[in-house]
């Protein structure tokens, strides 16, 4: 078993050695160094302690025969046959990993009356599409979907399985991983594959300030979830190519202790707090009518429109749309600040956004201290041109 062995005679300064552990797991008892249950096996004591003070010892683990597991499978997330676009992104990624290692790409789709959806999947360059189409599978229920997934893995034996980190995928993937006593890495941002078919999974750890590279070297299949819009979607191909394989499953495997009583479509409540893209308007907007220009820009980007405090005070916006200390705090993936000077009361409500683009005529505007991309120009010049370009590309 892997463990840490401490050689106290190699430690000159015990106090500073114990402090190496960021988790406070090391202590010294009767002259012996002990790692408590707080140890996360990060091995920093091995790396940063005096040479030989801490040694990581590992016996050979019993490894699976990796040659028995081949192919990269993607779980096709869909709602009543409407495929979630993360599926295509994962198929694209799977294809990239598969061509590196000479494997096939598989797709798994589960549901009722999903012929059309399965047919659509054929246009994204998967080799084989496994379809479990039955009335009992109409609605996603974790226990029976896990059973179907198990059946698929047992018959296909893929070396890796990629699942979209949707509400459904985040519940299904862990159940499947636990059933196969294998590893699962959530919300990967980068995926790669070693020649030996080990999936190299990179994800943010500890709240996003550190990246961790994770592998599942002794187990198969290897499971990973990936959020929507992290990977690139491949283009849809005119000619369908994937082979459809209709699968059957025994009735007794579809027993469930969960019952879906009702399912009501939700009126989509859009708030600026949960928007991924925000277009924010500031005092650079000259009249109330000009807001329409920003609104159509926001709509073309699939984002929400927000504003600074003066625009709420002017009565142009409802207070729910105000960003800042006296308004809402937002953390979108993208915010485009249009004609906003960038008072600290405003930037405090948005400076954690992933990407900040600011457009302002005044090159001395304080917003440019916060922005990643500082566009020095007039919104009345730039926005109409961008709107036109976005409309053109929508049409094509």
């Amino acid at each position: 078993m892997p463990k840490l062995i401490f050689n106290e005679n190699k430690i000159d300064n015990m106090e500073s050695f114990l402090k190496i552990c960021p988790f406070g797991a090391l202590s010294c008892e009767n002259g012996r160094v002990v790692a408590s249950a707080a140890c996360k096996m990060c091995k920093l004591c091995v790396k940063n302690g005096p040479e030989g003070a801490a040694v990581f010892s590992e016996e050979e683990k019993i490894s699976v025969d990796k040659s028995l597991w081949s192919g990269i499978a993607v779980y096709a997330d869909h709602e009543n046959g409407k495929i979630h676009p993360v599926t295509y992104e994962l198929i694209g990624k799977a294809r990239e990993l598969a061509s590196k290692t000479g494997q096939k790409v598989y797709c798994l789709i589960i549901g009722d009356n999903i012929e059309a959806a399965a047919e659509e999947l054929r246009h994204y360059n998967a080799d084989e599409i496994y379809v479990y189409d039955r009335p009992e599978l109409k609605n996603y229920l974790s226990d029976i979907y896990t059973a179907v997934f198990e059946d698929f893995i047992n018959s296909v034996k893929p070396c890796a399985v990629l699942v979209g980190a949707t509400a459904e995928g985040r519940e299904l993937a862990p159940r499947v991983a636990a059933r196969f006593r294998t590893g699962l890495t959530a919300d990967c941002t980068i995926l790669d594959m070693d020649k030996n078919t080990d999936l190299i999974q990179i994800r943010p750890a500890f709240g996003g300030n550190i990246m961790a590279q994770i592998i599942t070297p002794n187990n198969r299949p290897q499971l990973a979830t990936v959020r929507y819009k992290v990977m690139n979607a491949p283009e849809r191909q005119e000619t369908a190519s994937g082979r459809i394989i209709n699968c059957s499953i025994k009735q007794e495997q579809l027993l469930t202790k969960t019952k879906l009583l009702t399912s009501q479509p939700k009126a989509s409540v859009k708030t600026i707090e949960n928007a991924e893209i925000i277009v924010a308007a500031g005092r650079g907007v000259k009249s109330k009518d000009d807001i329409e220009m920003l609104r159509s820009f926001a709509e073309l980007l699939g984002g929400e429109l927000a504003c600074t405090r003066p625009l709420v005070e002017a009565g142009w916006f409802d207070a729910r749309h105000q960003i800042g200390l006296s308004g809402r705090t937002v953390r979108p993936k993208l915010i485009i600040a249009c004609g906003i000077s960038g008072a600290v009361q405003f930037t405090a409500g948005m400076n954690n956004s992933d990407c900040i683009i600011a457009i302002n005529k005044d090159e001395k505007a304080p917003i440019f201290k916060t922005a990643n991309f500082c566009v020095i120009g007039d919104i009345y010049d730039i926005l109409p041109k961008m709107i036109q370009k976005l409309k053109n590309s929508e049409r094509s």
């Binding site: 988790f23 990060c42 519940e171 159940r175 294998t182 202790k257 730039i382």
Partner: protein, 266 residues
Amino acid sequence: MRITVCIKQVPDTNKVEVDPVTGVLKRSGVDSKMNPYDLYAVETAMRLKEQSGGSVCVITMGPPQAEAVIKEAYSLGADTGVLLTDRAFAGADVLATSRAISAGIKKSGDFDLIICGKQSTDGDTAQVGPEISEWLNIPSVTNVKSITSFDETSITVERETPSSVETLRLEFPCLISVDKDIYIPRLPSYLRKKATADREILRLGINDLEDSDEKHYGLNGSPTQVQRIFPPESNSTREIWTGDGQQLSEKIIGKLKELKFVREVK
């Protein structure tokens, strides 16, 4: 209703930095408070107990000092607490963690309902709950936003998906992961804190579990291995763009495409 709530002690801050040169974590990673999402799970358990009677047991895995979160749960009204602590549990990934917790739950008695918070603030995976249900072979549902009703044999909950609200009935025993804001968590009671100061905590080590094979827990029982940690690419990009409206609009659109906010049209 016999309810078990899974809780976790997490670091007080998630501000972690890595020294890019030495690769050393620049923080004190000592766990110190209850995972905020677990407060909603404890609150849900307390509300159900108030309506149905029964008991609330909290369970956690961690170093000996993790007993602090059990005491905190006592001051919120939990009746009993289980602390899984053993060096053999250290370095556990999701699979080994869920295996140990499910073994601890089995050991601590029968239950009708297990409640988990949405996710932890340090691991952020939201996977331990569903994996526990798999080890225990019970139904599970995540993203629970409200409890509709319950009876002797089942519980009915509302689950939120991006496009719909589903009402599901699960037979006991089962596991639910509750969303933030299902209820407003109560504040710890000082009187209860005093009254429960000496209440016992059941401490379980690996030898107390039905399966005490060291290969199944901690780092040994973890299929995933962290190969390395490294600081993310700095996001402190700052570029200044000038030009005429045409150039600037093209530049912005190009950047939006590069960052995948706008679909590339070929």
